[in-house]
Symmetry: C2
Subunit: 551 residues, 2 copies
């Protein structure tokens, strides 16, 4: 694989087509291969790297803009080499990955600019307004909804937040951390841990995603049931917008008009660039206990989770798989051979022969509190027939909690289609929403005797409802991009009529834009448009997000 | 007292000048009278009712508007009699009460219109747009910040929400109630209690305030530390705006763009009329325990409250008084005579001779959970030297929790000035914020050897900070309106530089408008203006709230 004539290190090449290379390679075990083979057929052919060279058009950045940008941030921070531009041209959805593997570069920005301060971002934006240059803010680039996909159109740059990634300060009394947007989760957690604190925000994209990206997309993490979504954590933000600085938020709360902070959260780069975030952090819990459990059915598990949420007994992690996800998990990473038979007999003996997996993570500030919380929760869980399968399962889940994206790499390498989608709904709607969304995925991808594999889990419980997270595995192949793109439309169209939202935590980006109006109404679109007009009057910020770009 | 020539029942007369007439009259005990006499001097002269007739100018409602409004909602629902208009002309702050007691009616709306459905509100607003008639939405009328004060200017009406007060429905599975805005807290709690649920929102204005008013003003209640502010409870709203219907919110959560719901919450009638609210409700707790405690000092109490909040051990109610509020509470409603001596000796023996009062209210779904929670909390409290003074004090506080407004009536009747103000700040700023705000109240009202009495409590704790609620008692008298108005300006000016917000839960209204720009910045004002222009392009909605009215 070559990109123009540049000499490439292995790293950037990998970044174009896969999540990464873990220290211990993630492979498909024999049982996993057999399970997938039985469910969706044997993989077609692997698709590791493009067979033809990636062709990147030359930068169209006008000389005047180039000079002005260099004056604003330094010549070395205005990058126009093909590989850097390619690396900042899109996110990491299945389609993103597969198009690159098929040597389709899509639209590539004309430059990647790397400001190091808020004022530098303001200067870059002023230049872009003057020269009518589009801007896509870019953190970890992990969007799976086209949130950082460079749109076709006029000259455009990416503002990379890589150099705007400092730890600004920690107020240990109030429990508030201030950070710049380009910092990733692991870096922040290391800094906080050394001071006895944690943010507790662990999306599956944790290793690559940035704090600014969390804030811009309503991110939710694996421990959000206990720690809250990112929206619950953020108390203030500062943005650089095309019309200047905008700061919003008030600690700890205020009744001084509507919360404008909430307009910045989930703004997906369409209003400006988030340049600083103030977040509530918590003291590192002194007691942790992660365990596995089996509920007799998905319906019973849902009822048990609902009861815990509504009785204020939620764990930090509450992840309930449906039957299909449970079967896949057991087949692909559970016990095998004789051990599996013993495990199955144990489940039958305990009354959950066809049960569903529930991962429970408890985190408290003392073992006494943890025991009290867990005892109360188990009193509830037992009423719904839930049985423990021990802390080994919990430890195993924790160990592999960030392995999903690496497993995806392996599945793509093996020629499978693998993608996720997510929604959320009120408890009263959840069972039907699960069936409808699952059915849409099965029917839009299957047919002619072929069935894809669709598995679901609840990843975040609220008092009034829960999220549903779906993973689809199907045969890959050259036409799988078009097949998935079509299926995604059918799936998206199924969610809102069943009481679901188009997205629980991935955001709108460009992929969900067609369903935004159905979600927030014409009045909502009008409001977003008015807000954008106020902050970004010439419409240079992340065009196509919230506002449809004429094509 | 007379209002024009109308025959008046005693009830509306009372409503103009006092909170109400409780079943058991609230009187000032001998010790209370002596305490106040010693602190701020003897009351001047009572001020129960105006001595001169209240003069209400005739309605200026044009005949065309009158006819159109009558066609929209029915002739009987377009009220132009002086008393009804007077009753809907302002809120219930000290100045509101005193001006009326001084026979100053202020500006009075030209009509009070009472729609009974969302569509009727839309129709009324359309007429008001066409005829350029100002609109003030009016729920319980309990604003203490001029939120429903009829401004001077063109013809204006009040939309009363009295007839838009139905219980729409309860989803017991998801724990979601839908109600119309004119319902009051007690009515809702009775309806919910019969079904085993509670909203748990108990502002001191509970007996009169409406759900729509809660939503429009970022209301917080006495149990907000446990149940959350109203913003945490509301999951969806519908508004009738001058440009049509606007619905916002998604259950339970969504990443589909910025939360537009949060623009409706705290909108104070400036964008439209809230016509329906969907709120999270909780099952009625099975175990409750309210108790009193004494911390050795306000600083120690603040530290203890912070620790509880940050270790997730917050009670449903956590109310910490400072030394002055503690002294006043003990003097005015605590033990007296020999009992007081015994009580003081007990406090000295326990090491809190000059302690501060802490009310703790625990509410859980089982006594086991309550005991575990309370035990863990008391382990923390004891570290800070907090000692229990028993559940009798808790019961006494609960018994009198809504008596404050009635006590204010009695104090006004006795010729005292009494008013409150509130703020919130990060824990790190709280001690200084307390001193600064208190100092501003003392210095702006005191002088020449005279000192008002200022007392403070924390009424709502967050992980990152807390609210501060101040009560000021001073000599009344005819010039007290001007004296307080001037002091309020000094106090308001002191809050933001000390890290406080201009308001924690009372809202902006007209009284706090001069400090809004300092709170949200010019960019924030620009955004509110753009949002208002989108929803209320002709600027008829509650003019003067968020947008300064040219005078």
């Amino acid at each position: 694989m070559t990109v123009d004539s540049d000499a490439l290190t292995p790293d950037p090449l990998d970044r174009l087509t896969r999540w990464g290379r873990p220290a211990a390679p993630v492979t498909l075990s024999g049982p996993a291969q057999r399970f997938l083979g039985a469910q969706v057929g044997l993989a077609t052919s692997g698709s590791v790297v493009p067979v033809t060279p990636l062709s990147v058009p030359p930068s169209r950045l006008p000389a005047a803009a180039s000079t002005a940008l260099a004056a604003a941030v330094g010549q070395a921070q205005v990058l126009v080499d093909p590989m850097t531009r390619l690396l900042h041209s899109r996110g990491m959805s299945y389609v993103d990955m597969m198009q690159r593997r098929a040597a389709d570069t899509g639209c590539v920005p004309d430059a990647v600019v790397q400001p190091a301060t808020h004022d530098e971002v303001l200067r870059v934006l002023r230049i872009c307004v003057e020269q009518q240059i589009d801007v896509v803010p870019f953190g970890g680039g992990t969007s799976v909804v086209g949130g950082v996909t460079r749109p076709a159109g006029p000259v455009g740059i990416v503002i990379s937040l890589e150099r705007l990634s400092d730890f600004v300060g920690l107020d240990e009394v109030s429990g508030l951390v201030r950070v710049q947007p380009g910092m990733t989760g692991p870096v922040l957690e290391r800094l906080l841990d050394a001071r006895g604190f944690t943010l507790g925000h662990l999306p599956q994209s944790w290793e690559r995603a940035t704090i600014g990206g969390y804030a811009a997309t309503h991110s939710a993490g694996q421990a959000s049931s206990g720690y809250g979504r990112i929206d619950d954590m953020i108390e203030a933000v500062t943005l650089a917008t095309p019309v200047g600085t905008w700061s919003a938020g008030r600690v700890p709360a205020s009744a001084a008009g509507p919360s404008l902070l909430q307009l910045a959260l989930g703004s997906e780069g369409a209003f400006g660039v988030i340049t600083e975030v103030t977040m509530r952090v918590r003291r590192t819990p002194k007691a942790r206990f992660y365990e596995g459990a089996m509920a007799p059915s998905f319906a019973a598990g849902v009822a048990a989770c609902r009861e815990l949420a509504q009785l204020n007994l939620t764990g930090a992690v509450m992840r309930l798989s449906d039957v299909d996800e449970t079967l896949a998990t057991l087949a692909m990473s559970g016990p095998s051979g004789v051990k599996r038979k013993i495990f199955d007999r144990y489940l039958a003996f305990r009354g959950v022969p066809a049960g569903v997996l529930l991962i429970l993570g408890w985190e408290e500030h003392s073992t006494t509190l943890l025991d009290a919380h867990r005892d109360a929760a188990w009193t509830v869980l037992k009423k719904f027939g839930v049985v423990s399968i021990g802390k080994g399962v919990g430890a195993s889940w924790e160990h592999g909690r960030f392995s999903g994206p690496f497993l995806r790499d392996t599945l793509l390498d093996s020629g499978y289609l693998v993608e996720t989608f997510e929604t959320a709904g009120a408890w009263v709607d959840l069972p039907n929403l699960h069936q409808v969304a699952r059915g849409a995925a099965l029917s839009s991808l299957g047919g002619n005797g072929h069935t894809p594999y669709v598995m679901t889990h609840i990843s975040h419980v609220y008092e009034t409802g829960a999220s549903l997270y779906f993973t689809v595995i199907d045969r890959g192949g050259p036409e799988s991009i078009a097949r998935w793109t079509s299926a995604k439309k059918s799936i998206s169209a199924s969610l809102q009529p069943a009481g679901g939202t188009i997205t629980h935590h991935h955001g709108i980006g460009r992929d969900h834009e067609p369903w935004l109006a159905a979600e927030i109404g014409a009045r909502g679109i009008g409001l977003l448009t008015a807000i954008k007009a106020e902050l970004d009057p010439t419409g240079i910020m992340n065009p196509g997000v919230f506002t449809r770009v004429a094509t």
